[in-house]
């Protein structure tokens, strides 16, 4: 059943040795990509550029911008003369937030009449707007609560709330978004590398005509497919080590779980990616087409796996589709182990599903592969 396997592995390793550029690209380009994307997808919102229009010019109005800045989320750029100035700053992109303090603000504060402050948010960037909105509301709420309580003679009401929510953030206490995004990126980048590596492996031999010579030999189909897979699996494993090390040491992502378990559970994911590449390679008419097919597998991985958007909030039909994306399961594994310190008992079912994916694609590749021309 595996007649000729040794021969294919022998030959593929020679191809690799003669083509160090491909190996280099496969190993190091993902690290570069990880570094670039890893910093780019940082969703932490800090120092939002903010402009102020103070039409009141009282002691109270001068004190207010400080409250915003002290949260760390806002950075006051400068003041503008009139409300139109706020709008202009936001439209030009100079500032994301505009704070308008109307005339009479200080008087209202002093007399206890509800004082109003308008906060303009740039809705074109919803992540920023969302964060700014929450913070601005919190500032208002906190000030109102403290002052109302003081009227009833209660000091320091924030410590004596009738209903006090005590949140405790597990696993990522600083809410650093890199800790969340970089493990996902590992999954994306490993997918790209594995699929692209093998997607041209068979179609290249078809294009060069070398496959015709193999077809007249007693080489078995399984041996051909597995023989193509194994050397790339080794390359993929090295790649996984490199990229996980990069995440650990370039981004300082702590790996809370077992590194060994992570290594072990990465294998079925790598094999699935390589096998998808091989299935593509048995179907594609030429190398260019193989590349296109490979690129097509990218989009579901990015959109449907939960890498970008939480799967739970997807419409039912889309949610069902996410179960057919291998990265969905690997994300559970990689985020689970790195962030939550998940153990084998938490993740064996994801690993099992990835193995099923691998076997299905293996079967597909072998079935598709006929030792005949045309």
């Amino acid at each position: 059943m595996f007649r000729g396997l040794r021969a294919i592995v022998y030959k593929e390793f020679i191809h690799m040795r003669r083509d160090p550029l491909t190996v280099f690209v496969a190993l190091f380009v993902p690290v570069i990509q990880l570094t670039i994307f890893g910093y780019a997808v940082d969703m932490d919102v800090r120092n939002i550029p903010t402009v102020i229009c103070d039409q009141d010019r009282s002691a109270a109005s001068r004190e207010l911008p400080g409250r915003f800045e002290n949260t760390g989320y806002f950075r006051i750029l400068h003041e503008v003369e009139n409300p139109d100035g706020l709008y202009t700053s936001l439209r030009s992109g100079e500032a994301k937030i505009g704070i308008l303090i109307p005339p009479g603000f200080g008087e209202d504060r002093f007399s206890g009449t509800p004082a109003q402050v308008q906060v303009l948010l740039d809705g074109s960037d919803i992540t920023v707007a969302q964060q700014a909105l929450n913070t601005a509301n919190a500032i208002g709420l906190r000030a109102s609560l403290t002052e109302s309580a003081a009227r009833f003679g209660v000091a320091d009401p924030m410590r004596r709330m009738p209903l006090d929510i005590l949140p405790r953030l597990l696993f990522n206490p600083t809410m650093r978004s890199a800790n969340f995004m970089v493990p996902g990126l590992i999954g994306i980048l490993l997918w790209i590398v594995t699929v692209f590596l093998t997607s041209v492996a068979i179609v290249r031999e078809r294009e060069k005509g070398t496959i015709e010579q193999l077809f007249v030999t007693p080489l078995s189909r399984q041996a051909f497919i597995i023989g193509k897979l194994l050397p790339f699996a080794l390359l993929g494993a090295i790649e996984a080590c490199v990229i996980i090390s990069a995440a650990r040491f370039i981004f300082g992502i702590p790996i809370n779980g077992s590194v060994l378990l992570l290594a072990l559970l990465t294998v079925p994911y790598l094999l699935t990616g390589l096998m998808v590449g091989l299935v593509i390679s048995t179907r594609a008419a030429n190398q260019a087409q193989a590349m296109q097919f490979s690129a097509l597998t990218m989009l579901p991985s990015v959109i449907l796996s939960g890498f970008m958007f939480p799967r739970a909030s997807m419409p039912l039909i889309i949610y069902v589709m996410t179960f057919f994306v291998p990265l969905t399961y690997f994300l559970e594994i990689v985020r689970g182990i790195i962030i939550r310190g998940a153990i084998w008992a938490d993740l064996w079912d994801e690993a099992a599903i990835l193995i099923v994916f691998f076997l299905v694609f293996l079967n597909l590749a072998v079935r598709r592969f006929r030792k005949q021309l045309g």
């Binding site: 015709e212 010579q213 077809f215 030792k371």
Partner: protein
Amino acid sequence: MPEAPAIVVDHITRRFGTFTAVNDVSFTVNRGEIFGFLGPNGAGKSTLIRVLCGLLAPSEGRATLDGLDVVSRIEEIRRHIGYMAQEFTLYDDLTARENMTFYSMVYGLSGAHLRSRIDAVVGLVGGEEYLDRRAGALSGGWKRRLALACAILHEPTIIFLDEPTAGIDPVARRELWDLFFRLADEDVTLFVTTHYTDEAERCTNVGYIYQSNLIAHGTPEKLKMMPQVRPEGTARFEIDAADITRVHAVLREWEHTRDTTIFGAVVHSLLDAEVNADDIRSFLNTKGIEVRHIRPIEPTLEDVFVSLTRFHKERGLSSPHNERNQRKETD
């Protein structure tokens, strides 16, 4: 089954869509023969080889190699056949030795046996000095030898060679044919396609395929005796003159000429048997042509193929073709 002929082709037809590439071809090749398979480009030579090697399924008919059916027993057959494709199908980035090692391993050789087979094959085809050179960097002639080497590592009983000498220099061509004879001496059967009639002359048997149909099959001597080649009451002459294109043009208009062809620097003409050399000379003289020499000749294989091609072109080979197709449809 040592009694079975090496190759039996039994009414093989191969179609691609509506196009029939090989039409109802039958012949037998015996063990140790060199079978020359000739025909114009696109006539169906490569298609038939591919059917016999299991690379293409036949649309109709059956074929056996060493008594084994090429469809149902192909995996067994593959252990005993060698195939050298028209194009270079080895790995350019592997050295000659690595290519041979790879194919030895594919055929299940290993260890000392593998090394001794490579040594034996290199001893046969030569080129020790090129063993560690990348296959892509070899000259055309050496690429062919390497391809042959890889095709015989597993000691096949039948070897298919698809235009093995196309595009290589005459010396390399001659040396390759010497190798074929050495293999045939060891009872290996060779199935060779070629465009060169001098190569065909050296074959045990020759088949000629024209527009998907096998129109001649037999020893070179037998083909030269075919009635289409030397019709009743004709004689063949070789005529040499300064301006052979004019000789050719003038003879074509003569009432005694059946056929005339330019062969290199001379003209071969098939004429009515009643005219002799002097008649031709005086006829050409009346046209102002000085003949250098003129002699009666036996047909060469090239004459055979030119005559057969013309004969079938005039008869319109498409007619038996269509009749057969129509018959199949009504069946």
